[in-house]
Every structure is written in structure tokens, then in C-alpha cells.
Amino acid sequence: MALGDLEREVMTVLWERYDPLTVREVHQELARERHRDLAYTTVMTVLDRLAKKGVVRQLKEGRAYRYAPAQSREEMTASVMMDALSGTPDQDAALAHFVGQLPPEALRAAIEAAARQDR
């Protein structure tokens, strides 16, 4: 399995449980719920990488570490959408949009409207 897919699977486990998990718990969850039979050290490496990238928080508990997502899936989705749609002259070149960018107020309103529909 590609590294990107692994990272996504691990994030999905963390998001679904939300409580901080140990490497062992993530490893078990991957095997039980998602039928991924991975080496324990692989899971540890992936969690470590995700922590380095700042998308996972590492909490020390006694001698072991527990891992939790830095943001819920909804929060992260909202911030990605915000980043995708907000344009300043400086950022014009970073992403290309199908229908253009929004001023901040319109953007917030659009995201809130979409969030209401989600519920």
C-alpha cells in the first residue's frame, strides 16, 4: 500500500475514534475495522510522520505516546476549503479554480450555508 493511502487510513481511524489512541490501539483498529494487516512499526512510523507534519498531536502518557488528530475531519475540511477559496494577490498563483475566488465574507457565508445543509 502506498504511503499516502496508509496515512489516510490512519487518519480515518483517529478521526473516527477521536479519543487519543496508542500505536497499539491504532494498529488493532486498522486490523479489525479496516482489515489492514500492517507491521506495528509501520503504524508507528506513519503516526510519527503525521505528527511531524502537524496534523496529529502526540500526547505523552507515562512511558507511551497517545495520538489524536489536531483537528476534527470537519474542521480540517473547512480549513482546506477556506484555503482553496481565499485569494490574495500574493496567493493568486498557488491554486487554480474552476469558477474563481471569493472575498472573505462571502466565503464564510458560503461555508456556513453548506455546513447547515450538512446537518
Binding site: V80, M81, A94, A96, A114
Partner: protein, 300 residues
């Protein structure tokens, strides 16, 4: 004299030409060639400015009948100023592309993590990612590992053909490396002193690149699905109220997609020739004769 003529050319290219060129309608018929013309206009304006900086001191000292050492000193000073201008442009370009790369890398990481892989079974392209959420979104993250990102909202809003059209449009941006063009114009915009700069080239080139991507997508899927997608997405995500109709790029693109494509090889060739002439002629007519004179005074 050389400096005066180059100065006039530079000011014309940076202050007079962009307005009418941005308002003209013909670029819609030859968008790719028009992008080339904008590049030539911008580059020729920079070269003219450099020409003024290089030629003016030498010509002035010569006109006042100063001796050889003074002329040589003026030349060296001019070279230093020209180097500063070039350096400023290069630093701006480095900064813009570095910041864009960092933002894209972060964005790509997050969309990869958030991707709802199970929903894109029917989307065959391997670099397409789907975000959960009702806000209809379609965009691409350029770079070596490029992504096309769609939201649930967009997938629900559009039918199959329209989705294909949007993906074809975004893949064209990625394949043709349109972000490099946009980055260079952004960098140039940021490097020019506030009083002299204008957003006209940046905005015009942006719309032209959208047209290039529209044309590639309509060749693949036909105009109707692309136009339908544009209409629905524009309706679902309204722009700010105060956008004038003629500058609303969505409207311009929709109107363009409503009529059959009428590309013209003659127009393309004409525009490309104009772009080349803009770069070559000033050099041959003005710079080469001056260089000939200036080299006489060169001390080394």
C-alpha cells in the same frame, strides 16, 4: 536619444498598451497567442527599462562632452543599477514560487488525508480527490504531484458529463503548467514599484488561461457540459456583488462557450509575430547601435 526612445517604448508598454489589450475582444479567439503577447509586452517593458538605465548615463556624459573616464564611470554605475533591477525581479520570482510551492504542498497533504476515496471509484483519473462537504468546489493543486479537487457538493450539483468537462479543464491547467505563467506575472507585479504597476496583465492572463483550459475541455467533451458546469457552480458560489459584468470572468467565459469555437490560424500567427517583433525589433533598432558606441568607452 537611445535612452529617450527606449523610455518612451517602456512607458507605452507598461502604461498605455495594457488597458486596451485587456479590454479587446479578439484575445478570446486566440487565447494562447494572447498570453504570449502579454508575456512579450511585459518582458519588452522590462528590457526597455533596463535599456534606459544602461544608456542614459553614458549618453548624458557624452552629450556634455565629458572625458572618457567620466563616461566609463557612468557606464559602470548604470550596469550596477541594471543589476539591481534584474536581481529584484529574480528575488520576487523566487519568493512567489517558494511560497506557492509551500502552500500547495500543505494543501496537497490535507486533501490526500481528507480524500473520500470510496466516492471516486467512478472517477477514473488517478489524481482526483474528493472533499466531504456541500460547498460546491472544483480546483486544482499544481505541482509535480498535482491534484484535481472536487467536493461532494460539486459532484451532486453536476451530472457525469459536466464532471468530466470540469476535470478535463483542470487537467489542462496542470498539463500545460499554467501555474508557472501565473507565478511569473505575479512575481513581476510584486517587483514593480507601486506607482507604476497595474493588475491588468495579471487579471487578463488569468482569464486567458481559463479560456485555454475551456477550449481543451470542450474539444474533449463539447461546449454544453462545460457551460452547464460553469453556470451551476457560478450560481451556487456567487462572487462579490460589486463585480462589473464586463470584468466578471465567469460571464465572459460562459458567453464565449455559448458560440461555436472559431479559431483563426491567421490571427494566431499575427499575434505570435507581433509578440516576437516586440522583443526583437527594439533590440535590433535601438540597442545594437548604442552598444556599438558604448563599447568604445568601455574601460576594460
Amino acid at each position: 536619444m537611445t535612452a529617450l526612445l527606449l523610455g518612451a517604448l517602456g512607458l507605452t508598454l507598461s502604461l498605455v498598451v495594457p488597458g486596451p489589450l485587456a479590454r479587446a475582444h479578439w484575445p478570446g479567439r486566440a487565447p494562447a497567442a494572447a498570453v504570449l503577447l502579454w508575456q512579450a509586452v511585459t518582458l519588452a517593458a522590462v528590457l526597455s527599462a533596463l535599456g534606459v538605465v544602461l544608456a542614459a548615463p553614458e549618453e548624458l556624459t557624452r552629450a556634455f562632452g565629458s572625458g572618457r573616464p567620466v563616461t566609463a564611470a557612468a557606464l559602470i554605475g548604470a550596469l550596477a543599477v541594471a543589476a539591481v533591477i534584474v536581481l529584484r525581479l529574480l528575488i520576487s520570482l523566487y519568493g512567489v514560487s517558494k511560497r506557492s510551492r509551500a502552500r500547495r504542498a500543505r494543501h496537497r497533504l490535507l486533501v490526500d488525508l481528507l480524500d473520500r476515496a470510496e466516492q471516486r471509484q467512478e472517477l477514473d483519473a488517478g489524481n482526483v480527490r474528493v472533499l466531504q462537504g456541500n460547498l460546491p468546489l472544483a480546483y486544482c493543486v499544481p505541482g509535480r504531484e498535482a491534484r484535481v479537487v472536487l467536493s461532494d457538493g460539486a459532484l451532486r450539483l453536476l451530472d457525469r458529463e459536466e464532471i468530466d468537462a470540469v476535470i478535463a479543464h483542470e487537467q489542462t491547467h496542470l498539463r500545460h503548467r499554467h501555474e508557472v505563467v501565473m507565478e511569473s506575472f505575479t512575481a513581476f507585479y510584486r517587483a514593480v514599484p507601486r506607482l507604476l504597476r497595474s493588475r491588468a496583465p495579471l487579471d487578463a492572463v488569468h482569464v486567458l488561461l481559463e479560456m485555454v483550459a475551456d477550449d481543451a475541455a470542450r474539444r474533449r467533451t463539447g461546449s454544453a457540459p462545460l457551460r452547464g458546469a460553469l453556470e451551476r457552480l457560478a450560481e451556487a458560489v456567487p462572487l462579490a456583488e460589486d463585480v462589473a459584468p464586463e470584468t466578471d470572468s465567469r460571464r465572459v467565459r460562459m458567453e464565449r462557450l455559448a458560440v461555436p469555437r472559431n479559431p483563426s490560424v491567421a490571427l494566431d500567427l499575427l499575434v505570435v509575430a507581433a509578440a516576437l517583433a516586440l522583443l526583437v525589433l527594439p533590440t535590433v533598432i535601438l540597442v545594437v547601435p548604442w552598444l556599438d558606441r558604448a563599447l568604445d568607452a568601455w574601460p576594460l
